[in-house]
Amino acid sequence: MKHTIEKVKSPIKPGEYFLMGDEASADGAIAAGCNFFAGYPITPASEIMVRMVHRLRETDGSFIQMEDEIGSICAMIGASWAGSKAMTATSGPGLSLMMEGLGYAAITEAPIVIVDVQRAGPATGQATRPGSGDVFQVKYGSHGDYEIIALSPWSVQEVFDLTLEAFNLAEAYRVPVFVLADESVGHLRERVIVPEEVERWNRPFASGAPPFDTDDPNGIPSMPAFGQGEHLLVTGSTHDGKGYRKTQDAATHEKLVKRLVGKIRNAADEISRCETYQTDDADILIVAYGFSARASLDAISEFRSKGVKVGLFRPVTLWPFPEKGLLETARGVKHIVVPEMNYGQVSREVERILHREITALPQVDGEGMRPGTIVDGIEQLIGRAK
C-alpha cells in the first residue's frame, strides 16, 4: 500500500539557527511529526534526548527515560504500534543492546527512527571520540534476514534534513530507519535553515486490511494502531497476514522473509541517494560518507591545485547503498579510495559492488577523519602507480 503525504507548517519556528548536530536531529524529528521519544543517556547522543524533553513538551508529545537501551527500543516499538511516530537516540554500546529489538521492529514492520551518534569502539572504547564503526551493525547486527534504511549526514543541516526524512521513510516502508551520524557531526555547530513548510509521510492504513500482507507489489501492508478495534495480533514470531503465529510452516516463513527483505531491496533505487563532486574528469575517486566526506573535500582541492584529478562520490544512504550511482561514477576511474573512521566497512561494500581492486583508507585513532589521512593515502597510491 501507499503512504499518505501531508504538507504542514513547520512546528519549529522557520528561520536560521546556529545549532549543534545533536540539537538539529531533535528539531528535525519534531518537524517530521515525532511525538514519542524513549531513550537512555549515552555520550555523544545525550543532547538529542535532552532537547527532545523540551521539544515534546512544547508539541504535546510523550517522553520517557527508560531503564536501559533495550527498554528504549521496546518502548518505542510499543508506541509505534499505538500510532506514534517514535524515536530514540543512542551510540555504539546502546545500539548493541538494541539489536534484538531491531529484529522485532523489522519483523513486525514497526516504523521507528534510531539516531546513532557513532563513537570509537568496540565496547566502551572512547566515548567522546568519533567513529563510523556501526555501519555493518545496523545492517547485520540482529539475527536472521531483514532490511533497514540508514542515512549518513555530513553537516548539521543534513542532520536536520535526514532525521526528518528518516521518519518519512520509516512510515512509507514500515521499516526501522537509522540516522548514522557520528560524534564529529553530532557535536559540530553550524548554520541550519528550518523551512516554512515540511512534507510528512504517514503510514498506509485501510480499515480491515491485513496488517502483515498485501497484494500490492510494493510489499507494504496497511498499519492499524492499538485501540482502533482491529483486534491486532502483533508478534515477533513468524506470522501470516493477519498476525497468527505460524512457527512450523515453511511457506509462511519464506513468504514473510522475502516480503520483509523485498520491500526494501526492490525499492533500492527509489530510496538510495548519492552526491558527486568533481567526478566528471576524475582519475581518482574518493568514496566517502559522513564526516570523512568533508575531509575529502579538502584533499580534493589540494590535489586539484596540483593538477591531480580527484573527485568524490558520497553515499547519502548507506543502506540501501546507491549501487547504480557508484557503478556509473566509477566508470573509467583509475583508482578508488575509501577513507572511513573504521577498519574497513563501506570499503568492502564498494569492492563488492565494483568487483575491482580499491584502496581502503581506515583511520581508527578515534579522531575525526583528517584530510591528511586521505592525502597521504592517495599520494602513496600515485607513487606506487608511477
Binding site: N35, F36, A38, S62, I64, M66, E67, D68, I70, G71, C74, A75, M76, I77, G78, A79, S80, W81, A82, G83, S84, A86, E100, G101, Y104, A225, F226, G227, G229, E230, H231, L232, L233, V234, T235, G236, S237, G243, Y244, R245
Partner: protein
C-alpha cells in the same frame, strides 16, 4: 463456558497448546471474567506478553489487541504503548522467568514509575516451554533440568519485590482459588497506578514430574497444605513459615 467468555476468545485457535494439568487455561478464563467484572472496555485494551508458555495466554487466544513481544520485554513495550496512548488499558500477562529473570529490571522500574498498567505473572516456578529449567522463582531444593541435585539458590518472592519497588496493588493467588483470583484481578485492573498479580499456576509436565507432583490432583493436595492466607501467615513464627506459601494482598492503595 458462559457466552461472555466465548465473545472474548478467538475460537479458531482452540484448543489451547497447554499440557494436561497446566494452570494457564484457568488463568485465561479468570482474566476474561475479571475484565468483565471490572467493566473494562475490551476495544480500548491492549494485552502485552513476552515469551514462554504464559505469554500465549492472551496471544492469540483473546479477541482483543495483543502484542506478543521479545523474551523479558513485555513491560518495556507496554510502557511505550501506555505512554503513547494513555487511554489504552494496558495489561501484561507473562511468566515468572520472563518477568523476573530476563525482564526483572523492567518489572521493578515500571513499579517504581507507578506506570498505570496491570502486570499478571503466571508463576509456575520453572521454564516450561524450554523443557524445565530453573527459574528465579524455583523453590530452594527443587529439582529441575539445570538443578538436578536441587536448587541451591534462594527464590524471589515476587510480591515482596514489587511491593518494595513501589507497586500500588500487589497480590498473589493460586489458580485453584479461582474466586479470590478473579476478585483480585478485577481489583488490580481497577487500580489507578501500577498493579501486580502473581497467579501461581501448576506445571505437572515439567515441575511436577521432577518433584514428585506428577498430576493436577497432586498439586491440589499440596496446595491445601502449603498455601495459607497471608494474614494468617503474618502471625506465624519464622519456623512455621518455612513450609508455607502465603496468598492474599500485599498492598492495596
Amino acid at each position: 463456558m458462559s457466552q461472555s467468555l466465548y465473545n472474548h476468545l478467538r475460537l479458531n485457535v482452540f484448543p489451547t497448546p497447554y499440557c494436561p494439568g497446566c494452570g494457564h487455561g484457568i488463568l485465561l478464563g479468570a482474566v476474561i471474567r475479571a475484565m468483565d467484572d471490572a467493566g473494562i472496555d475490551w476495544e480500548k485494551t491492549l494485552f502485552v506478553s513476552g515469551i514462554g508458555c504464559a505469554a500465549w495466554i492472551p496471544s492469540p487466544h483473546l479477541m482483543v489487541d495483543t502484542l506478543h513481544t521479545l523474551h523479558g520485554r513485555p513491560i518495556a513495550y507496554a510502557t511505550g504503548a501506555k505512554i503513547a496512548n494513555p487511554d489504552l488499558n494496558v495489561i501484561v500477562v507473562s511468566g515468572d522467568g520472563d518477568l523476573s529473570a530476563i525482564g526483572g529490571n523492567h518489572l521493578i522500574h515500571a513499579a517504581r514509575r507507578d506506570l498505570g498498567i496491570t502486570v499478571i505473572c503466571a508463576n509456575n516456578r520453572i521454564y516450561g516451554m524450554t523443557g524445565g529449567q530453573a527459574a528465579p522463582t524455583t523453590p530452594c531444593g527443587a529439582t529441575t533440568q539445570t538443578t538436578p541435585w536441587g536448587d541451591e539458590e534462594r527464590p524471589f518472592d515476587l510480591c515482596n519485590l514489587v511491593r518494595g519497588a513501589g507497586g500500588k496493588f500487589v497480590a498473589r493467588h493460586t489458580v485453584f482459588q479461582i474466586r479470590n483470583l478473579i476478585k483480585t484481578l478485577s481489583t488490580a485492573l481497577s487500580t489507578d497506578g501500577f498493579s501486580f498479580v502473581e497467579a501461581l499456576s501448576p506445571c505437572p509436565t515439567h515441575y511436577g514430574k521432577l518433584n514428585k507432583i506428577p498430576t493436577l490432583g497432586d498439586f491440589q493436595d499440596l496446595m491445601k497444605v502449603q498455601y495459607i492466607d497471608k494474614r494468617r501467615w503474618d502471625k506465624l513464627t519464622p519456623e512455621d513459615r518455612k513450609e508455607k506459601i502465603p496468598t492474599g494482598i500485599w498492598r492495596e492503595e
